[in-house]
């Protein structure tokens, strides 16, 4: 069976997903839509997909599934439209920045029995996936404490921050999903601290650039998250999980693994400096997983509910910072 795809949004991340669909023997990129004609045409030229409007893709008989890579504020609407149109949906995270809007959207998905997968790509990073597998294989016994360190090479433009929902909803949200993925239990309380240490303008825009979070599950498992909007040494992405029998950790990734030794010491190059090179395999693997699930008729994961759960943790963390209290998560 070949899954026939429509791509909504032909920007940076759209191109990444187009490549994943285009090179997958079980899939075919049939159509592409983008407000900017040039972007859509580029994808069309490379993969032979037809440039169409969103409406045309919505109604198309030759499209089984869509990949939504449009701006965040269109995600929930598009999910609802394509759920009703009977298409399987892969949507870039987040579904929406507002918990209520997400809940409403997921209700529609449920009612229409649509298939929805949310793009928490990091679950598909080979290194993080291997950590998860080691846990599932029992290598560390019962999970007890997770530590997630996640630092960006540099802060995004303040304009982006204004629209992103803030650091907890646009950056830490990946770590909240990773914590849920690794802890094996739902966090029930959140304590967070946040400050502006990197760029005063971020503070003026009402956001933070440096945050620390503790999550705790009902049985007392804990996750620690450390975020910064700036790391001179590259895109710092580490996870470590400690359990009753041991610990498993994923190391940072760098473009080349060489070491230079001289009178100053032993130096390895900086880490990847961009999330798209760091997570290049993760992006390819998540689309493969979506296609494989559709081809097999199984439910893809992470689901819309995973998207909602991570967003609730982000809201709780923000509330914890504002109130100075540990916040319960429903």
């Amino acid at each position: 069976m070949t899954v026939r795809f429509g791509l909504l949004g032909a920007g940076r991340i759209g191109k990444v997903h187009a490549r994943a669909v285009g090179s997958n023997p079980q899939a075919k990129l049939v159509a592409v839509a983008d407000a900017f004609d040039k972007a859509a045409k580029e994808i069309s030229a490379t993969y032979g997909a037809e440039v169409r409007s969103i409406e045309e893709i919505e109604k198309a008989k030759d499209v089984d599934a869509v990949v939504i890579c449009t701006p965040t504020d269109t995600h929930a609407d598009l999910i609802e439209r394509f759920a009703r149109a009977g298409k399987a949906i892969f949507c870039e995270k987040p579904i929406d920045l507002d918990v209520k809007r997400v809940a409403k959207c997921l209700a529609t998905v449920e009612k229409t029995k649509a298939t929805l997968m949310v793009g928490f790509n990091r679950r598909f990073d080979p290194h993080f996936a291997a950590v998860k597998k080691a846990i599932d294989d029992g290598a560390i016994g019962k999970v007890e404490m997770a530590t997630i360190t996640s630092r960006d090479p540099g802060a995004p433009p303040v304009d982006y921050i204004r629209r992103s929902g803030g650091i907890f909803r646009d950056m830490t949200i990946h770590d909240f999903d990773m914590a849920r993925f690794l802890l094996g239990e739902e966090p029930v309380s959140v304590s967070a601290h946040a400050s502006v240490l990197v760029d005063r303008k971020i503070g003026e825009a009402g956001d933070y650039d440096s945050v620390s979070v503790i999550l705790e599950t009902a049985s007392g498992r804990q996750a620690l998250i450390s975020n910064s909007r700036r790391a001179t040494y590259g895109y710092d992405q580490r996870i470590e999980v400690h359990g009753s029998k041991g610990m498993v950790a994923a190391e940072n990734q760098r473009p080349v693994s060489i070491e230079l030794a001289n009178d100053k010491g032993y130096t390895r190059p900086p880490l990847h400096d961009f999330f798209m090179t760091r997570y290049i395999d993760a992006y390819a693997n998540e689309i493969s997983a979506f296609i494989a699930a559709l081809a097999k008729g199984t439910k893809p994961s992470p689901s819309g509910a995973d998207g909602l759960a991570a967003l609730k943790l982000a809201d709780a963390a923000l509330k914890s910072v504002k109130t100075g209290k540990s916040v319960a998560v429903q």
Copy 2:
């Protein structure tokens, strides 16, 4: 100048300090006191020190300084007695488990103008000291976020835990001191989570075995602490400090640095399994620093105030766990 020492307490840690004093060319171990005669005699035989009572050492003209390694509940009294006796004092941490008692003790030290150094030995670990030096040299710019991971190979007997003041006051207290040492600013608020994941009996004794703490300073610098009473892979002791220009970290230590490769992978041996082998250099270095300060007439550090500050953080962490709130530290 030779500093003449009396040793109070000839147990495990007393022996470590006796060796440090005995091998220091600027110091001489003159006297040793211990309730168990055998322990005192052993030290006496090895280093030529005379076995005396505490009273005799208190009054001795040939003793300039004492090292207090007696049980915790005697520390404050002994500090006061020897402060009044005009001796310089090195006291194992903690001064006392009660903040008020510590404050009263320090008032006496101040009134008598006695010299007091408190045994936060980790500041003298060569690796941690090198991290601190890198920070002081400006290698990472302005300090922003510290992560301290500290896990014991195994939990102490529940009996010990009953007397120790609990995990925050006997274990995390080292990390509180390290956070103060590294952040370069005083923490003003503390959020903590704690649970019983390792041993139910620890919970029955009213304590926790797994804790996560966030400290924040007035300018928004943050420290994350992760503790567990059990780590199958050894004595896990890591610090990492992230700043505006970079990051510096101290790696774990193992008895031998070999790597075995086979069809299972590449394996390095477990870490040290005991704090006294892990911190063997730190113990020697802290006594050297005390002796050097006395010999030069400078003020040794960490001081009694450092002991008090760390204890206040421990109390605040415990209060945060109990109340579910971020606790302000005065």
Copy 3:
């Protein structure tokens, strides 16, 4: 400009090169030939290339360049044919196992002014290339000593060994090329030891499975090569170059970078277990370099002369083992 390609040989390595050509925006895979129709058709289906005979490709007006991935004993003949046909040629190593045959073939290439690149793919490994770049950038000063460790996960079938020309010509030859690449001077003498430690049948077939080689250049620079046909821990591929100002080394590569810690120690997974996954980037990069050279009209490297030089070192090493003498290389 688009370079139009014919692929000769659609086996394992042919597929790898087909993908590299197929995904390169400056290239187009026009035709494919293979004695096994099924293999050729598979490539044809995936990349739209036409299945043709070698003769048809030789005469084709719509083919600018060929990639030769046929069995070793056809390489020299095909190079000569396609050189005369005016096609640019990328040929998998080796050109031939016999130095005289290679020399004759290269004479034809020179006479016809054909463009020939030989597939020493390791030069294009990102890690090894970064080592070379560090050297060229002067990071280690003047090159003095290189150490190349190269071990296969397991020995090839004895049948293969019989046809391969032996360990020096099929395995060490990569390291000879790497040594030439890194030393920056031609080796002028070779000392080698060889023995059968892995599999007695290899010895019965007249070959060795464990070899050590020293190369020396006219100015006294030295390279050490260590080879084994079997390594339980995976495909062990390391290079290290020591110079007057420092050292630079490329580390081994593994599929995932995780570490598991428990009471046995800290374990990272084994290395890649297959040369095609280990050198997946190198294979892609070498074809990109070939295409880029053709597109720009520059001379691709490594050349046929590089292939000949490495083969001469292999012959010299074998002679050194047989005679117990250091062998001069012309």
Copy 4:
């Protein structure tokens, strides 16, 4: 039983051994002799040993064993004198630079049934000893290939080189001993290359500063040795042994294990810059082993025969360089 010691030679290495004897509960440093009175007196003051002449120590009833740390050209004579005097002997390597003189000396030792241990301290390095233990425990199966990398931070004065017997006899000799220690079989042939790359003056003094050596045993096991008189990154001391079931390696050692990350990459400090700090534990452990053997009445190792065997390999390597042939070792 307490072993009573005389120390012959109170220089740099004499002081190291004095400390090892002085802090060993089974030993006592009774006497010290040195041509320079001041050096002897310093040892005397610290450890309470009496300053005596070599003759006095030779005849002393209260001396069971001697540690010979005098200049190399006196070693053989002193071993013979003290063997005849019935003392147990620990002698710094080498016994002599001349194979015949060593053989004659060892004949005397044998005739007098004296106990002789030679100071190949590296066997007692905890990391190298752990490698050996892993081999002996069967962790890597049958030993096949060893790689020993040994580079000094800087070249010794040319004056020293003139007296040292050359790089093979003063530097590589440690690696020859290590190869014998690790291979588990005697090398029977040696191929070596040597050149002058570091300092022209070393060449003018008739020696080399950069050498590569292959050793082979009767069953075909191989060892590779790489030496340089200069490494900007510190005292580079690595061993790696590959076997039928795996590989075991000892990593380099540095004074502190920290890592600094910034926009230039991740940097660890240089290695130890001095053999006495790098091998501080090895020096202490070898004397402990000597004392333990005397106390137990067992034969200490490495023996005089080990010293002779390493020297023969050094001579063979030199001959290989001069003749361009692989040299057989008897």
